[in-house]
């Protein structure tokens, strides 16, 4: 399998132009607008938006569904910067780092400048992620062709451990617990090999297992609904857009081009790690941007570099997150996890066999992302003009609407009332986990990787007649085992103490020499 060749580049441009039909232009515009609004409104998230939309796209053709879902994804991730800048509350988790410099800029009267910087950085970041996607997905698919059940078992476990380690803010045990709870949830229903009903307790609705889309809507939509209604009156100050003060954006972008490229690469790389997502990408890009800046003391006080780093990083993560999604069927972020469910619904089976069953799918996805990015930039400009009014929408009006949409989104798939009950109970569980600071992303990843881990583990043991040798004698399994151990061991205090002792000794030795 080769990296992007000239003929594939030509195909990519050809796909981009083919997408520009009148119907698709309307679709891109509407869905980008919906995505940006979802991202801009605190209480709604990109994951929730895609989860709600997934059920609604069930009866629609594949191309239209992909356009809708990816436009909302791109729009939502960048839309989070609007509320981050204007009210100091991130519209989505991925915009949390943008608040640090975006809101101070708005308070100083530079909201318009900050929003323009954020939107352009988001655009460039997404493009960097798309380039990563187009180049590395075929490479990873090539590697994945050598995967057997043993590799997939360990990959599933690695996904849980790395996602849990990186998403649980200093409490990796909670992330790992969440991941394995997600796996346990998928044990409910007919098992994948013998179709034996597990943990159904005689309830007919559980025979088919827990449906993924209602569970995701429950996990990401319902806890927010409860929490936002419970915290009550919105007392937010929305900053005015103000003037641009004669500041030109492109010279700022040109001056910070190395920062943009670095943040884009960081975002794409983080996106490629299973289940980690845009939040971590934004923070890491921001953190490294600060450490490498000539004026780190400006960060947190309204630094242009802070806004640029965070927004480039989080948007670059989009393309990065789709890499493992398409090549290994392992999502790189929570929205990508929902996207996986959506692709499966439409008959697309991501993984190493994807290029054989759908030869140009990666090119088509890249083309849709490119067009979605352009429309996000154009539509984003207009939405920013009306943003101060949009953000004044109170949560007591918005959240019940989210409740109604959650019901529709959960029911739309199979027209089954039982899915509403699943959404509700998973929502209660999700709320409890949220309050207890158990991150939701590992739970979702566990639910997606559970069937893979279950069937692969048992198939491996069947083939080896009970021997565990395949898990430690194959080259890729050894690498995966090392990665699993590394992702867990590095989280423990004894490892950090050991590393700091080693670094201190090295520093002393260097200063002596």
């Amino acid at each position: 399998m080769e990296v992007l060749h000239l003929d594939q580049l030509f195909l990519l441009f050809s796909e981009v132009f083919q997408l520009l039909t009148f119907q698709n232009i309307i679709l891109f515009t509407l869905c980008s607008a919906v995505g940006i609004l979802i991202g801009a409104l605190p209480g709604l998230t990109a994951t929730m938006g895609i989860a709600l939309l997934t059920g609604l796209t069930y009866g629609i053709n594949l191309e239209t569904a992909i356009i809708m879902l990816l436009s909302v994804y791109v729009g939502a991730v960048s839309g989070g910067s609007i509320s981050a800048i204007l009210i100091g509350i991130p519209g989505t988790g991925s915009a949390a780092a943008t608040v640090l410099d975006g809101n101070p800029l708005a308070k100083k009267g530079f909201a318009r400048v900050a929003l323009s910087l954020a939107m352009i950085s988001s655009t460039i970041g997404t493009i960097v992620g798309i380039v990563f996607l187009a180049i590395f997905t075929p490479l990873l698919q090539n590697v994945a062709l050598n995967f057997t059940s043993a590799e997939f078992t360990l990959l599933a476990i690695f996904g849980i451990t790395i996602c849990g380690s990186l998403t649980s803010a200093g409490e990796p045990i909670k992330g790992w617990i969440g991941g394995f709870i997600g796996m346990l949830i998928t044990s409910i229903g007919f098992d994948g090999i013998y179709s034996f009903p597990r943990f159904t307790f005689g309830i007919v609705g559980l025979l088919g297992g827990i449906a993924l889309v209602p569970a995701m809507i429950g996990l990401f939509g319902v806890p927010n609904l409860f929490h936002q209604l419970a915290i009550g009156e919105d007392n937010v100050t929305v900053e005015k857009l103000g003037k641009d003060h004669g500041i030109r954006i492109f010279p700022i972008i040109k001056k910070n081009i190395s920062l943009i490229i670095r943040s884009g690469l960081i975002g794409s790389f983080i996106g490629a790690i299973p289940g980690v997502g845009e939040d971590v990408a934004a923070w890491l890009a921001y953190d490294i941007g600060k450490k490498t800046s000539k004026t780190p003391e400006e960060f947190g006080k309204g630094s242009y570099e802070g806004v640029i780093a965070a927004e480039t990083g989080n948007n670059a993560c989009i393309g990065g997150a789709i890499i493992p999604l398409l090549s290994l069927a392992v999502p790189g972020s929570a929205p990508a996890a929902v996207l996986l469910g959506a692709l499966t619904l439409h008959g697309i089976r991501p993984g190493p066999m994807l290029p054989i069953q759908f030869p140009n799918f990666i090119i088509e996805v890249s083309a849709v992302l490119i067009v979605a990015t352009v429309f996000m930039r154009i539509v984003g400009y207009f939405i920013c003009q009306g943003a101060p009014h949009i953000l004044k929408l109170p949560s007591f009006i918005l959240m019940p609407v989210v409740g109604a949409l959650s019901v529709i989104g959960s029911y739309a798939l199979y027209a089954n009332l039982f899915d509403l009950y699943v959404m509700f109970f998973i929502g209660l569980l999700g709320y409890a986990f949220d309050r207890l600071k158990f991150p939701a992303a590992p739970i979702v990843l566990g639910m997606i990787l559970g069937p893979l881990a279950d069937n692969s583990l048992r198939r491996t043991l069947m083939a080896s007649q009970g021997s565990l040798a395949p898990f430690y004698t194959r080259p890729i399994t050894i690498i995966l085992l090392i990665m699993i151990v590394f992702s867990m061991v590095t989280q423990f205090p004894f490892y950090r103490r050991l590393m700091s002792k080693i670094f201190c000794k090295l520093k002393r030795a260097k200063s002596v020499s």
Partner: protein, 187 residues
């Protein structure tokens, strides 16, 4: 349960670079982790027991325990049990187990405005999902759900008329947009 620590438990847990409110929040979270780790441990044990009760011999396979339907729940259950035990030990070491002061703190939480509003929001969604939908017309159910929610949680500057108007308009928009235009099945 590990023994209670006395009134000095807060000082042992406070990190010097946090405000007292943040420190208290961290303490409360650690204590909640004690409870959640116990619940998760119980769930993992139940999963292991459930897994062992599933048949080991299936058609075409003799005593191949590793292919049995129960093997994966047992595998996950064991890992969850270990992780929940680690969480329990870490939380108890950090801030001790529950004491009488924690019970009174829990009672205080139950009387807050936040908790009251939370119960209402859960109750309304419960009634909407379990009682209204499937039994009554979707349009009526949704309009009532939206109206009641908006009325209960509204800011005083919004009149009943405005709330009623908003709930009817939104219901009509959702029903027409999804049910008629997009032809999506509605409950």
């Amino acid at each position: 349960m590990a023994g209670e620590k006395g009134g000095n438990e807060s000082t042992e847990c406070i990190e010097t670079n946090l405000s007292s409110e943040q420190s208290q929040h961290k303490i409360n979270l650690s204590k909640a982790d004690v409870g959640s780790s116990i619940i998760i441990f119980v769930i993992s044990v139940l999963a292991i027991i459930g897994g062992t009760q599933m048949p080991v011999t299936m058609t075409g396979s003799k005593n191949l325990w590793y292919t049995a339907p129960g093997s994966f729940p047992i595998f996950v259950g064991v890992i969850l049990a270990i992780l929940s035990l680690l969480l329990f030990i870490r939380s108890v070491r950090k801030c001790g187990a529950f004491g009488k002061s924690d019970l009174s703190r829990i009672k205080n939480v139950l009387t807050t405005n936040y908790f009251r509003r939370l119960i209402f929001s859960i109750l309304f969604l419960t009634i909407y999902v379990f009682i209204f939908l499937g039994r009554f017309d979707f349009v009526l159910s949704t309009a009532v759900y939206l109206f009641v929610n908006m009325m209960v949680f509204r800011s005083p500057k919004y009149s009943i008329l405005k709330i009623a108007f908003a709930s009817i308009i939104v219901t009509a928009a959702i029903t027409y947009g999804f049910g008629t235009l997009a032809k999506i099945p509605l409950p």
